[in-house]
């Protein structure tokens, strides 16, 4: 994956391990292998869907991309510039163009702030307008995300989950970012409200030309939203493919079993694959290919050699010895 023209965000060989104690009284330090050598590009104005099961590192990757968490090694380029070691004022200025939408619309909004202050905080921090002007801009933005203008004077608890997520979205787009990391933005919402939020995200992308790094465990949502899909398992990418092709014909055995596990309603008939075993702990990921303990294609080599992500079909990348 070369960082060609139009690449907005480029993650190169990122690692992030979190130290944890084995138990409260233990001296032994273990490492959670949250991200283990991940490279991924997000093109301008496009959506890259990042899908995986709990504990696979997808949320950490989203945060590392925004430098909310610093990687142990590897490089992050944003708009062509290396931001891996930026700090202070320079990092702050870069962050204007990168924002995040959180999963839980209940805990991600300060209950003591008025909605207009939540949405307008970015403008205030970056000195973009006086209080009065910010209030007016906030009200306009709230209208744009489908809330009424009087929402500005209310507090978060006065809104439903879907409406709160609209507030979170308004806050994220207030500074006209180039990149928005959407971390499970609809997972906490009911189906009938999910569709409204997904539509809003699509409309805003068209209007503002933002790129999304869209993190989700829900393949159906990923399929609807993404141009490119990256499949993550235990800290590593297993497959990166254009969405259309991935859903028509998944290559990696893990992608195949994921698609087999989800009733899709419409589309190609599903393969009959039920994976054996559990997801290994990220504290002690298996050697060799991370997936070999559950893989139906695993051979001896998979236990020993970790396959690299490589272009196995033009435009499609897989990390598997046999694909």
């Amino acid at each position: 994956m070369n960082g060609g023209n139009g690449t907005l965000l480029s993650l190169e060989n990122l690692y992030k391990h979190f130290p944890v104690r084995r138990s409260f009284f233990s001296r032994e330090i273990l490492k959670v292998h949250a991200i283990d050598g991940v490279s991924l590009d997000v093109p301008e104005g496009k959506t890259v869907g990042l899908v995986g099961e709990s504990g696979c590192g997808k949320t950490t990757l989203g945060r590392v991309a925004l430098r909310l968490v610093s990687p142990d090694s590897g490089r992050i380029r944003f708009e062509g510039k290396d931001i891996t070691r930026l700090s202070g004022e320079e990092l702050r200025r870069t962050r204007r163009r990168m924002q995040i939408i959180f999963q839980d619309p209940y805990s991600s909004l300060n209950p003591r702030m008025r909605v207009s202050d939540i949405v307008g905080e970015g403008w205030l921090v970056h000195g973009m307008g006086g209080r009065r002007e910010i209030r007016e801009k906030a009200a306009r933005l709230l209208l744009r995300v489908g809330l009424s203008a009087d929402a500005a004077d209310k507090y978060p608890h006065e809104f439903s989950g879907g409406q709160r997520q609209r507030i979170g979205i308004a806050r994220a787009i207030a500074l006209s970012p180039k990149l928005v990391v959407a971390d499970e933005p609809v997972s906490a919402l009911d189906v009938s409200v999910q569709a409204q939020i997904l539509n809003l995200l699509k409309d805003l992308q068209e209007e503002y030309g933002m790129a999304y790094l869209f993190v989700s465990h829900d393949l159906r949502v990923i399929r609807h939203m993404s141009d490119t899909v990256a499949v993550m398992y235990l800290g590593k990418l297993m497959e990166v493919s254009p969405a259309e092709e991935l859903f028509r014909g998944p290559l990696h055995p893990y992608t195949r079993s994921l698609l087999a596990a989800v009733p899709m309603l419409g589309g190609a008939p599903r393969e009959k694959i039920v994976l054996r075993g559990e997801i290994p702990s990220p504290l002690a990921p298996p050697p060799g290919c991370r997936f070999h303990t559950r893989c139906f294609m695993a051979q001896k080599v998979c236990e020993e050699v970790c396959p690299l992500l490589r272009e196995s079909v033009p435009g499609r990348f897989t990390a598997c010895h046999f694909v």
């Binding site: 609807h224 141009d227 596990a261 309603l265």
Partner: protein
């Protein structure tokens, strides 16, 4: 027609709260035949779980008040049984598995003790025999390393293993009806697939075990259920055989739900969404509960306001809560608009 295994009719349940009585079920009626799987589908707060808990009489009262209705099971009305008689039904004839296996297992007992307790509680056998049977069930639900897991506590296991233990407990006495409340929702998709495959296998082995599967996931229902009941705001708004419901949904809520599901294709198109949100249970509208989100009702209202129609054709929606009516054999829906529009409506 043979008698259904479970026949719930006109079930009304309310809760006493600080803000007054809140009605959760407004006369829920459905039936489950022996050996059949009925999917009960709805969004959060629609009353799916309250329905299941009332069948087993597990709602604590107060605050819950059963205001009316009947839960027929094997010729008895479960609502009329004494607590003692009910205890004999629970676990033995009807059992339940819950969404969050961590909170529904006892943290201070080993898994082996908890599965064995099912036998000793119902006095089916002695302690040693119970332990042996528990081990056998853990093996049957494909618990990895069952010998060791017998002696472990819930916190030592993964979510998938806990759910396997729950399933072992629930079907250990081979009940006629298993109520599964979101059995796979809290699990990862590949583990979810394992649990559903296990339930399917158990269902096939025990031909006569009926399942009431409560879920918000229409995809799961599509694959797993023989019939589907759609709930909205404490009512069942549509019931049909699964293929009929997906091929020809009648209620506008069902239609909206099916249309708004993402992932039928890759990218591009906007999802048709259902406007608005589920109303607060404290302020339930009179008339049809779906009226203020319904495209048919809102369309009629707009035409009337614009002067295109001389009278508000669907004003009935605001006044009368529509009853379930049969549109095709076994296909019921509760909608004033469809009743007037569709041939055979209300027939």
């Amino acid at each position: 027609m043979t008698e259904p295994l479970l026949a719930v009719s006109g079930l009304k349940v309310a809760f006493r709260t600080e803000r007054g009585m809140v009605r959760a079920l407004f006369g829920v009626s459905f039936s489950v035949d022996a050996g059949e799987t009925l999917g009960l589908v709805g969004e959060s707060g629609c009353g799916k779980t309250v329905t299941a808990l009332s069948v087993l009489r597990l709602l604590s009262s107060p605050p819950a008040v059963v205001e009316g209705g009947r839960v027929g099971f094997g010729g008895k009305d479960l609502l009329a049984l004494s607590e003692e008689e009910m205890c004999a039904v629970r676990g033995k004839e009807i059992s339940m598995i819950f969404q969050e296996p961590m909170t529904s297992l006892n943290p201070v007992l080993t898994i082996g003790e908890q599965v064995a307790e099912v036998y000793t509680a119902h006095r089916t056998c002695g302690k040693e025999e119970a332990a042996a049977r528990a081990r056998e069930w853990l093996r049957r639900v494909k618990m990895p390393d069952p010998e060791r897991r017998m002696r472990e506590y819930p916190h030592q296991m993964s979510g998938g293993m806990r759910q396997r233990a729950m399933i072992a407990m629930a079907i250990a006495l081979e009940p006629a009806l298993l109520i599964a409340d979101e059995p796979s929702t809290a699990l990862d998709v590949t583990i979810q697939a394992q649990i559903l495959a296990l339930l399917e296998e158990m269902r096939e082995q025990k031909r006569k075990m009926a399942i009431l599967l409560i879920t918000h996931d229409l995809g799961v229902v599509h694959e797993f259920a023989d019939r589907v009941a759609i709930m909205y705001l404490g009512r069942i708004v549509e019931v049909a055989r699964t293929p009929d419901l997906f091929a020809d949904p009648i209620h506008p809520y069902t239609q909206g739900l099916l249309r708004s599901l993402p992932g039928k294709s890759v990218g591009g198109k906007r999802l048709p969404s259902i406007p608005g949100t589920v109303p607060d249970l404290h302020s339930i509208p009179t008339g049809c509960p779906f009226a203020d989100r319904c495209p048919f009702r809102q369309g009629a209202l707009e035409r009337f306001r614009a002067g295109e129609t001389a009278q508000d054709e669907l004003s009935v929606c605001d006044r009368v809560d529509p009853p379930l009516e049969e549109y095709a054999p076994g296909h019921f829906a509760a909608c004033h608009y469809q009743k007037a529009k569709r041939p055979g409506g209300g027939g």
